[in-house]
Amino acid sequence: MTTTTMTMAKALNEGLRRAMEKNPKVLLMGEDIGRLGGVFRITDGLQKDFGEDRVIDSPLAESAIVGTAVGLAIRGYRAVCEIQFDGFVYPAFDQIVSQVAKLHKRSDGAYIMGMVIRIPFQGGIGAIEHHSESPEPYFSQTAGLRVVSCSTPNDAYWMIQQSIEHDDPIIFCEPKSRYWEKGEVDLETPPAGLFDALVRREGTDVTLIGYGASVKTCLRAAETAQVEGTSIEVIDARSIAPLDIELMAKSVEKTGRVVVVQESPHTASVGSEIVSELTQRCFYSLRAPGLRVSGYHVPYPPTRIEEDYRPSVDRILDAVDRVMGFES
């Protein structure tokens, strides 16, 4: 096994590089991704090595980034679009929902809409407004799209390549607050399929499910809970749509308790879907109602107070206490 240590940002960069080497039809498009290497440097050095025709510095127009990716897909190219920040994806919402998601169906399968729309998402970097949002529930609700999120450098390296190879359009959510954290990357073997969830820590009392930046927060909560005598199983959902509900159900059959952690508000969220599915599948195993620990139902707050908005270890442990203390 060949492993190497790198940041998530570097792992994404290496994953993109490998995908471009493998398939000459893969193109990158986005604002400031060429000479600058992107505002997060995810595409650093790629324009120099692959040229301006394959790493395209785009005008400042998100709908056009996605809309032209549609045309390129029709012509047989596979675009990886970078949306600079989560809050900037909404100008492209119509192209994503009305065109990208539906053209395979509308063309009776003649168009393969394989493309990846990369979105740095979630908060935690002290940015100004529109730079810390969690738009994934909007896309999870749309038939025709798939939504995934990486939480480690190894997943970032593999999931970006798997997404580029996949024939359906993928919304690829990158937890920007984890870009600079290092981890081991296995350069030979992918950790799992693109749509598989993974157990990050085994436990017996409560199943804690998160994705993106929340996974690490869940793992911290599990460590603290262990000290207090509660054994928590942590699942990284990885794929938000479709959900690997089988793996989650297997865990909840064992623990009888589930808490889902997410940064988006909880109404009509990914957590709502997970709790609903698990209630249906594991009704007789559940010893407490499934809970969600989410962002509040407010516009993302000024970031001086964002850590009181984002699910914290304390808020997760509070939810763990509630499911542990529930008496039917």
Partner: protein, 355 residues
């Protein structure tokens, strides 16, 4: 007649006129071919309106008045070009070889598309207007990367010209010098909204602000539309970049069969434009200059009638799709929710389809 910069080669009376920039390159047979196309597509449109009135179509979007704009542009295309239509481009679809019945599958509500867009190099209809202009630019960027001498052509109207996607498409096409032709049919009305609300300047002037040429052509003059389109496409194919063509025309009919234009425009205006009919002026030219006989015109009419009969038969034969087909092609790769939906439908006995 309308604008001194309007490119026109044929008056409404069928008289040839000089243009400083363009001259007609078509011979008599070719002009007769354009006439035939326009008659057939008008007949197709009328038959479809009847089918809607008889309850056989959910909706129809007529093109009466816009036949020359569409046939002129459609016949200027080369086989390798790729077109991106709205839901009203029946004339373009005809020129691309799309079978007439397939054009009606959307309106019969048995499909969200209707034909194989890769086979005919004519994309599926866009209903959320403006989006298709960006698709055309992206496709053109693909042409550039393939080093091919081809072009894409985007169709939209005066209404959609206000959409951000159209203007973003202009920016991108200019920035990347993409081989794309933007073909705007200014038919004066976006449902009830007059084109004066969409733009305070002639639409073709907008191109200059984006950094590429714009041309206004008499959209009811098939000879002029053909030449203007041909030159713009040829320029795009050899690296000349984008062109905006504004085909100045008029929607004689309703926006769709659900619309009632008597609520927002006056008959006198429609009458003025009926005198500028795109089909009659070519017929007059053919009769006078090429001595085409009535019997030849009648042959075309009969051909159109035969097509219409066949169209009606084909449409009536389009039955309700098996409900389970809604799961086909929702995704390219297997998806658990698709399998779940299929299973449920079979369990409920809604469909006899197999997994």
């Amino acid at each position: 007649m309308i604008d001194e910069e309007l490119v026109q080669l044929l008056t409404p009376e069928g008289e040839r006129v000089e243009s400083s920039d363009y001259e007609s390159t078509l011979n008599g047979d070719e002009i007769f071919g354009l006439y035939r196309d326009m008659v057939i597509i008008r007949r197709l449109c009328n038959e479809s309106t009847s089918l809607q009135r008889q309850g056989q179509l959910a909706l129809w979007a007529p093109i009466q008045g816009q036949e020359a704009a569409q046939i002129g542009a459609g016949r200027a295309l080369a086989p390798g070009d790729f077109t991106f239509p709205t839901y009203r481009e029946h004339g373009i679809a005809w020129c691309r070889g799309v079978p007439p019945a397939d054009m009606l599958r959307l309106f019969r509500a048995v499909s969200n598309g209707g034909w194989d867009p890769q086979k005919y190099r004519h994309s599926v209809p866009t209903v959320v207007l403006g989006s298709q202009c960006l698709h055309a630019v992206g496709y053109a960027m693909g042409i550039q990367r393939d080093g091919a001498e081809e072009a894409s052509m985007a169709f939209f109207g005066d209404g959609a010209s206000s959409q951000g996607d159209v203007l973003e498409a202009f920016v991108w096409a200019a920035s990347f010098n993409a081989p794309v032709v933007f073909f705007c049919q200014n038919n004066q009305w976006g449902i009830s909204t007059p084109s004066s609300v969409q733009s305070k300047i002639p639409l073709y002037h907008r191109a200059h602000g984006f950094g590429f040429p714009g041309v206004r052509v008499d959209g009811n003059d098939v000879l002029a539309v053909y030449e203007v389109s041909k030159r713009a496409l040829e320029s795009a194919r050899v690296g000349g970049g984008p062109t905006l063509i504004e085909a100045y025309t008029y929607r004689i009919g309703a926006h769709t069969t659900s619309d009632d234009p008597t609520r927002y425009r006056i008959d006198a205006e429609v009458e003025v434009w009926k005198h500028r009919d795109p089909v009659e002026r070519v017929k007059a030219l053919l009769a006078r200059e090429y001595k085409v006989k009535n019997v030849d015109f009648d042959t075309v009419s009969q051909e159109a009638d035969t097509m219409a009969l066949q169209l009606r038969e084909d449409v009536l034969a389009m039955s309700r799709p098996d409900p389970i087909s809604m799961f086909d092609n929702a995704y390219a790769a297997p998806h658990p929710l698709i399998e779940e939906g299929r299973r449920e439908m079979i369990d409920l006995g809604i469909s006899g389809g197999a997994l």
